[in-house]
């Protein structure tokens, strides 16, 4: 197992280096750059822009900029944002908490509801419930989250006045109840798509488990349908879902760009979009590497889980 782990880790490091080189090159070859935003300022001259580029080190050859960045990264210095001079890692940390709250809530809700819908759909195949769940999942997967968000705000905020239009909390309040109140709409909107995905996966996995021999044996022994479902089917159907959850770990942490924008949620997704918009190279590179590490970690965890379950994988 340790050889397997070492092998996977070394592959991961090579992968991270490749991702960083590609990311850095693509980012720096994009025309414009971090100083483009000052082009319309009547007081900013061409000379001012050149002076700033020199101060930020942007006038150096690209490979030197990369090596400088990589060397700092290895020493634990992820650089400072061009926008506000804050340390990249601390900015990521500040936004991570908001994203964890939103994504954690919506994912927990999606798994619970999605699993229930999937299991019930499988056990009541071709019933009205099953058809409704299928159609509902298709709609949830087809309609953009942005639209769901705006419709949600229109109905539940502007028309009914039940929930806030967005934001993580009311400025000046910040109580637990206030946080929860603000969490309802964005987490529900965000979980819609995930509910759809989970319900479809769960339905298939449950149907698969239901067709297994041990279920038939249990039925033959006269075990009740409820007990068969709870004891034999659900546990087995959930197994592939755990791998799926592992693979979704990066997306949980890297945020939901659209939802965070619609609901003014100060999370990772919006940070990434903002940083790209400002061509804030250190921030974008920090986020890219952070995401890449999460993807690698997510895959590694999934690999370990699978290797634990099936030792043949380790040999392959």
């Amino acid at each position: 197992m340790s050889a397997f782990l070492l092998n996977r880790l070394s592959q991961s490091i090579v992968l991270l280096v490749i991702v960083s080189i590609i990311g850095f090159t693509v980012l720096n070859f994009m025309p414009g750059g971090p100083l483009a935003q000052f082009g319309l300022d009547p007081g900013m001259t061409q000379k001012d822009v050149e002076r700033l580029a020199a101060q930020l080190g942007l006038n150096r050859p690209l490979w030197i900029q990369y090596l400088d960045w990589a060397w700092r990264l290895i020493r634990g210095d992820w650089g400072h944002s061009f926008r506000d001079g804050s340390a990249v890692l601390s900015v990521i940390g500040r936004h991570l908490l908001a994203t964890l709250l939103l994504m954690g809530t919506s994912t927990a809700f999606a798994i619970a509801v999605g699993a229930w819908i999937g299991i019930r759909g499988a056990t009541h195949r071709y019933s009205l419930f099953d058809y409704c769940a299928t159609v509902g999942a298709m709609v949830a997967l087809s309609v953009p989250t942005f639209w769901f968000g705006l419709i949600g705000i229109y109905i539940f905020t502007l028309k009914l006045g039940w929930v806030p239009a967005g934001n993580m909390y009311t400025i000046g309040d910040g109580s637990v109840l206030d946080y929860l109140h603000h969490l309802i709409l964005p987490s529900l909107v965000l979980s819609l798509v995930h509910v759809a995905v989970w319900s479809r996966y769960m339905r298939t996995a449950t149907l698969d488990a239901l067709s297994q021999d041990f279920v038939k044996t249990a039925r033959a022994k006269g075990v009740s349908e409820r007990r068969i479902l709870l004891k034999h089917v659900v546990g087995n159907a959930l197994l592939p879902m755990i791998t799926l959850a592992g693979m979704q770990l990066p997306s949980i942490l890297t945020g939901a760009l659209v939802t965070e924008t619609v609901f003014t949620w100060p999370g990772m997704g919006r940070l990434f979009l903002d940083s790209l918009g400002y061509s804030d190279y250190p921030m974008v590179m920090g986020l890219l590497i952070f995401s890449a590490i999460l993807v690698v970690l997510g895959n590694l965890i999934a690999d370990i889980v699978i290797a634990t379950v099936d030792p043949r994988i380790r040999l392959g």
């Binding site: 414009g32 082009g39 300022d41 900013m44 101060q55 930020l56 926008r83 506000d84 940070l271 903002d274």
Partner: protein
């Protein structure tokens, strides 16, 4: 096997859920672990209430001397003071100075080279230290420090021999007379010497994330990506502040910004204000005040005069005549902007109201091109001396209104035998080298030409300012007219407002005649605020709606 792996997996899931729960709980409680926020404290001081200003971009630069964008200005105007302040009429008023220097009161010498400023003696920094002329000297020197990432250096680079005469008096010599400098100083906020002089690197000073000023509001706290709070400076030397807290809330999507104004989550819509398509509805909202506020920003069809298609005045005149400005303003922009013939705000003392008025006339446009010898070729596109009257037009992608304007003009120009191809770019690409190095054929751009209320447009119109030809400024149209150059040089050396008015009126005449850009309209901001906020005064001479937040108060 199945059982064992199921157990392992169940544990992993619980573990994940536990992590999520811990993260969630931390998110819920962490903000309160740092103690009660300022607003929760009881205070016997006068300022009461809170105003939340919604902004479309996040303020991130709090050292006002560092390079920044306009959305940061609201914070700078609230936390800091400049030597002077510019009022909505464009009149410069004393702020940290006790009077505005001029040649009559002896503050500026007859040749415009020696400046002397007298300062207030009752100003204190937010940390209690007294403000003095040393701070002004330090500020002016920091701006021209080659290692400091300073914002605009124009004007400041001419300052020499700064002398602190006394704690309340400072003087300096200008390398050359530069009348716009007074206006530049209204946007030059003074920073504390006693804090920043200790910093080895002012670019990374802690001050930049928690500034200390002399302004009406003190730094509160910033929640990155969300909002920042300023609290009233009850020791402020001037009138105000009247509100206890001023909050700048970041809402990136403009539809959401407007929605939160409708729902009452924000009290005032700041930059980039309410979009024109919401203006009609916004006016009808109960308990909201929505007004059109003129801005010093101008939308134009901007040309690269070095392109062979645009070198000839006849072509520029024909294109201008073929623009149905009224249809664009009324049909696409909901009547919000105001048509214009110049780059000078209509509200400015220097505005030339006698410029020839544009008239949409396709027949005239055709006649101009015919007379100039631009004849339709085999494909219907006009040609002259081997040059096809074909060009691309670019603007910021994702701006639906501008994209509609492009399509509208494309069709109109086609009727003239002019081919316009649309090629839009993201903002971060558009306004970089493509714009600064004049790599475009034509663009639709909304921009300001003035700094403060000063009429000097050397940076945008003087032939010395063509960046792609090694010039210092941003004359990206590559416009060159010796008479305009001479007038601009003279205007920068002239201090008498009446004399300057004549100079800049003539500049406007010449630019209107030469059409280096085809003026479309002067922008109006659709500003919205809750009924009950008093003291809000728009000021087109600054870049922020929050320039006088110290005067705001809630009606009781």
């Amino acid at each position: 096997m199945t059982k064992r792996s199921a157990t392992t997996s169940t544990y992993s899931r619980r573990d994940t859920l536990r992590m999520v729960a811990i993260g969630g709980a931390a998110g819920l409680f962490a903000p309160n672990l740092l103690g009660k926020p300022a607003y929760a404290r009881t205070s016997s001081a006068k300022p009461t209430g809170r105003v939340i200003v919604g902004l479309g971009q996040e303020p991130t630069v709090f050292n006002p001397l560092m390079v920044h964008i306009e959305v940061d200005d609201g914070v700078h105007f609230s936390v800091f003071d400049a030597l002077f302040r510019i009022d909505p009429q464009g009149v410069i008023q004393p702020n940290l100075a006790v009077e505005v220097p001029n040649q009559k009161n002896g503050g500026i010498s007859e040749d415009g080279l020696k400046w002397r400023i007298r300062l207030r003696d009752d100003v204190r920094w937010h940390d209690g230290k007294p403000f003095s002329a040393e701070d002004v000297k330090f500020t002016l020197e920091l701006i021209t420090n080659p290692n400091f990432r300073s914002w605009r250096t124009s004007g400041h680079s001419l300052v020499r021999d700064i002398t602190v005469v006394s704690p309340t008096e400072i003087s300096w010599r200008m390398e050359e007379a530069f009348a716009p400098y007074l206006s530049f100083l209204t946007e030059t906020f003074i920073v504390p010497k006693h804090i920043l002089e200790k910093e080895a690197n002012p670019n990374t000073a802690a001050f930049n994330q928690a500034p200390v000023g002399t302004g009406a509001f003190k730094w509160g706290k910033r929640v990155a990506g969300d909002h920042l709070e300023l609290v009233a400076n009850t020791e402020y030397f001037g009138e105000g502040p009247h509100i206890e807290r001023l909050v700048f809330k970041y809402i990136p999507d403009l539809t959401v910004l407007y929605t939160q104004f409708k729902s009452g989550d924000i009290d005032l819509v700041g930059q980039p204000y309410i979009t024109p398509d919401h203006y009609g509805e916004a006016k009808t909202l109960p308990n909201r005040v929505v007004t059109l506020v003129p801005r010093a920003s101008f939308e134009s069809f901007y040309l690269n005069l070095e392109r062979p298609q645009f070198k000839e005045l006849a072509v520029r005149e024909a294109l201008y005549a073929a623009i149905d400005k009224e249809a664009i303003i009324q049909g696409l922009y909901y009547g919000v902007p105001t048509p214009t013939e110049t780059f000078m705000p209509r509200q400015s003392f220097f505005f030339n109201a006698n410029l020839p008025l544009h008239q949409f006339d396709l027949n005239r446009a055709r006649k101009i091109l015919d007379q100039a010898g631009w004849a339709p070729g085999g494909d219907g596109i006009r040609t002259k001396n081997g040059v096809r009257l074909s060009f691309t037009n670019s603007t910021t992608s994702g701006d639906p209104l501008r994209e509609q304007v492009q399509q509208f003009l494309q069709q109109t120009f086609a009727q003239l035998g002019v081919e316009m191809k649309i090629s839009n770019l993201p903002a971060a690409v558009m306004w970089g080298e493509f714009w600064m190095q004049s790599q475009f054929d034509s663009v639709i751009v909304g921009s300001s030409y003035l700094i403060g209320a000063d009429p000097d447009v050397t940076n945008r119109i003087h032939s010395r300012s063509i960046g792609v030809k090694g010039g210092r400024g941003s004359n990206n149209a590559q416009y060159a007219n010796p008479e305009v150059d001479a007038l601009l040089d003279k205007g920068a050396r002239t201090f008498d407002p009446e004399a300057r008015r004549a100079i800049y009126s003539r500049v406007q005449e010449l630019v209107r005649r030469d059409l280096p850009f085809l003026p479309l309209y002067q922008s109006n901001a659709v500003e919205g605020l809750k009924k009950g906020i008093n003291g809000f005064v728009p000021n087109g001479n600054t870049r922020t709606e929050s320039w006088n937040a110290l005067a705001w108060y809630w009606a009781s």
